[in-house]
């Protein structure tokens, strides 16, 4: 993979698009913005159905979306160089807060995730979703790539510490997302395929140890994933009802607002983690494939922006953020369709809830900043 480029093709294509004058001056990327707005709009439409046409729900989600898009716009204004300088500090602050959560955190739903800052409650693990890829990118960008093994080890350590802290809360979903952010940064930095294969084997070998460390409810989820029919009224209920919702949707779906599984309340968590099943039920295969197409567009645009970035830090960060977005999508849809065990990861930009929304759009703000602050390079 260490091929020398034969032409400067990549540079020539990377001329900033000047046609979008206003957006460019706002440091926003039109294709990405269009995709995200479209997704948010579709999300509200589906939420209207999944939330039993509760306008209050729509209003609250709209406010959150507005705030999250603002956060995106704000981050887009910050120059990547500044972001890079802040990276280690942001990471350290995030780490400190994670420790604080474990010491003095608020408990909700059997897990300690929240930090009460007086005026608002804050989930430090969300911050790590941005801070971790930033610090890995910052660390790896200091030396030439691909990184040496010693640096890989340090980068691995940087990843593992916050992941373990988050897993201990316990918040498996976020731990997974944060871990993947670190892993993607390493992957994009070019660690050898052989090492990746070795790590894969190691992971498989560590499986039993992970099983031993897991809490009962987490083990239950895995068991339920392996055979949901085992416990149809208990832990398997979610996945069985979700599959019924998806399967009964068929090719064309039951129509908007006509999903029986969701509206008759058979489907649990239908406006949050299981909203994908509502989409599948009401819009059928055609609808979900269209939605997945929209996600794919956003992801490919993100990877394109990464490939166009002008420095290692920007490349690693934007690539990693984009791939985390994909992990959101795949873990959620995999769970809802019964491909993966139940892990509490929302469907990005569609599931009801504000915390991840802000993080995700802030991430896209960083991407836009990276894309719109490029300098014309000397050829």
């Amino acid at each position: 993979m260490n091929q020398i480029p034969r032409s400067g093709l990549a540079f020539q294509e990377s001329q900033p698009a000047r046609a979008t004058g206003l957006l460019a001056s706002l440091h926003l990327d039109l294709p990405l913005l269009t995709g995200l707005l479209l997704l948010a709009g579709v999300g509200l439409l589906i939420l209207y159905s999944a939330g039993d046409q509760n306008m209050e729900l729509i209003q609250r989600q709209s406010v959150r979306l507005g705030l999250a898009f603002c956060a995106m716009a704000v981050l887009a204004q910050i120059h990547p160089d500044n972001l890079r300088r802040w990276s280690p500090w942001l990471f350290l602050i995030g780490l400190a807060m994670l420790v604080a959560v474990i010491l003095v955190g608020e408990t909700g739903k059997g897990a300690q995730r929240w930090l009460d800052l007086g005026f608002f409650r804050f989930q430090p693990s969300e911050m790590l979703k941005l801070a971790l890829p930033m610090v890995i990118a910052w660390y790896l960008a200091e030396k030439r790539l691909p990184p040496k093994n010693s640096r890989l080890l340090v980068a691995g350590m940087i990843t593992v510490v916050p992941v373990l802290l988050i897993a201990k809360q316990p918040d498996l979903g976020t731990a997974l997302l944060v871990a993947s952010a670190g892993i993607f940064a390493l992957f994009l930095a070019g660690i050898s395929w052989r090492l990746i294969a070795m790590l894969g084997v190691l992971m498989a070998a560590l499986g039993p140890a992970v099983w031993y460390l897991m809490r009962d409810y987490q083990r239950q989820r895995v068991l339920t994933f392996l055979n949901p029919e085992n416990d149809p009224l208990g832990a398997g209920y979610h996945i069985i009802q979700s599959k019924i919702a998806i399967g009964s949707g068929g090719v064309n779906g039951k129509g908007w607002l006509n999903g029986t599984q969701s509206h008759l309340e058979f489907l649990p968590e239908r406006h949050t983690d299981f909203i994908f099943a509502v989409i599948s039920e009401e819009f059928g295969l055609v609808g979900v494939l269209a939605l997945l197409g929209l996600y794919l567009f956003i992801i490919l645009r993100g990877l394109f922006i990464a490939s166009q970035a002008q420095d290692t830090y920007s490349r690693l960060l934007s690539g990693s953020l984009t791939l985390v977005f994909f992990v959101y999508l795949f873990v959620n849809t995999g769970m809802v369709t019964g491909l993966l065990p139940v892990v509490g990861v929302p469907l990005p930009l569609i599931s009801y809830g504000g915390t991840s929304l802000v993080t995700i759009l802030a991430g896209f703000g960083i991407l836009m900043s990276i894309h719109t602050h490029r300098k014309l390079l000397p050829t």
Binding site: A245, G250, L339
Partner: protein, 613 residues
Amino acid sequence: MNQQISIKNYLRESQLFLGRAIAASAIVIILLLILAGRLVYLQVQSHHHYKTLSQDNRVKIEPLPPTRGLIFDRHGQVLAQNLPAYSLEIIPEKAGDLAVTIQALSKIIRIEADDVQRFHKLRKQRRRFDSIPLRVRLSAEEVARIAVNRHRFPGVDVKAKLLREYPYKDKTAHLLGYVARISEEELLTIDASNYSGTSYIGKNGVEKTYEELLHGQVGLQQVEVNAKGRVLRVLEDQDPLPGHNLHLFLDTQMQMTALEALGEYNGAVAAIDTQTGGVLTLVSKPGFDPNLFVEGISSSAYRVLNESIDKPLFNRAIRGQYPPGSTVKPFIGLAGLELGMVEFHQETYCPGYYQLPGKEHKYRDWKKWGHGEVGMAKAIIESCDVYYYELARTLGIDRMHSFLTGFGFGERSGIDLKGELQGLLPSREWKRANRREPWYPGETLIVGIGQGYFLSTPLQLAVATATLANQGRRIRPRVVASIERPDGTHVPTSLKISELSQADPLHWEEVRTAMIDVVEDLRGTAKRIQTDAYRIAGKTGTAQVFTVKQEEEYDEETVEKHKRDHALFIAFAPVDQPRIAVAVIVENGGHGGAVAAPIARKVLDQYLLGDSS
């Protein structure tokens, strides 16, 4: 040079990254294709399977219970109806801590210990997701209070349903019976699918006998339910077929008259239409309020009823077995005449007691100093025992048994009520089988005056009297006159007659004359009920509750009330064209003529004269 390396590195890194980005894109696309494959599998390949499951989730078949048939008396008065009532029900599975829930509910509406006890009793019999009533017959205010607080109580709901109601309460309780919750034994005998929406079943009386007709056919509806089982809308339905209405022969007014006439006494009155066998009055006093049983009677209320010395739950009219006493005298007299054992005017001397040849034991007459020379007429009019001791001895137990059987003694009358008892018409065979003893001649004598082993129900006496009035045509008594189908057509119940073989008109006439004189003769034991409006033929009776020892005397004043004799009276009227036969038993009432006969007269008046009396 440095610049050169930097640019070279830059290109290298950029190229490396591009490779990785492409690899990542490929992985993303592959994983999304796997996901799409999964979706195709679920939504196309398995669509049918999941569509069925979704349909099963959504659609439930619910039974629609039929409306129970109404019961009317002969004048169209409603005796049993269905009234809407609100009850507070709890689904234990959804209510959480039941004790806490009930405690909190008791602060909103009145809930008594009995309600809670009954709730727990029902709860044990039923499934956790069944709705179980805690309080029944809520007032409008209580319904409103619960509605306001409902959000605090998951699994608690107010249900409206039709409850069986008996407006005449205790006055018709024994005759109609009542409906109550289906017991486990009953579940085994009924068609479970037809009762799938019904929680009540006839437990007694007409309600039980005609259960099948009253119940009707269950309907079905397909409903859409949500995950909590709440019905959202009806998709399809098949209406239930309501139960048949029943029209009884019963005259509620007569029933009330009879009860009123019994006054303080316990007892029974049976009156039947001699032409149709229709039961005009069937009273057992005391009664009980059948409405208590409909929603499940509390155990304390049940205990009161069950342990009462007056036995209000006991249907004396068809299950009370009393010695018929002297009321059998006309029948045994007729047996003597028909079988040629005695002539109507043939006289016997009554010294006040009777002795079997060669025996010491004295069989007493109620009249200590005797009736003197007695023929059959006088023996019936004055109720001479000695005459009947002699006649019984002449007839013998075998002939008495076979003749009296023809009047329905010792047999169930076949009335359309469950639980009728057959009384006891003793015979040699019966005694051998049941007492493992031979028949003694002395026992024949006391059967001749309707005592000893001889037992009869009030209904049996009324049927026998009607048979006498009809000169041998024995008609099966029936409560229900006609059955009204849901389409409004009436189907009358059938008349069943069994003819008595012996039928010499002269003998019937002789016995009838004597019975008329029981009421009309100056020495008649029931002369006080004589009326100018119509003519009555009757016979008094007194049944001993306990045996007076040989040398003791029975003194009504000194004997405890519950050991006093039962007073009996049988009658039919009008004598020329009998329309009604009546039998009255007044427990511990003393002499039949004084207590029972006036009650019969009031019942007859009510029927024959109507309100003009």
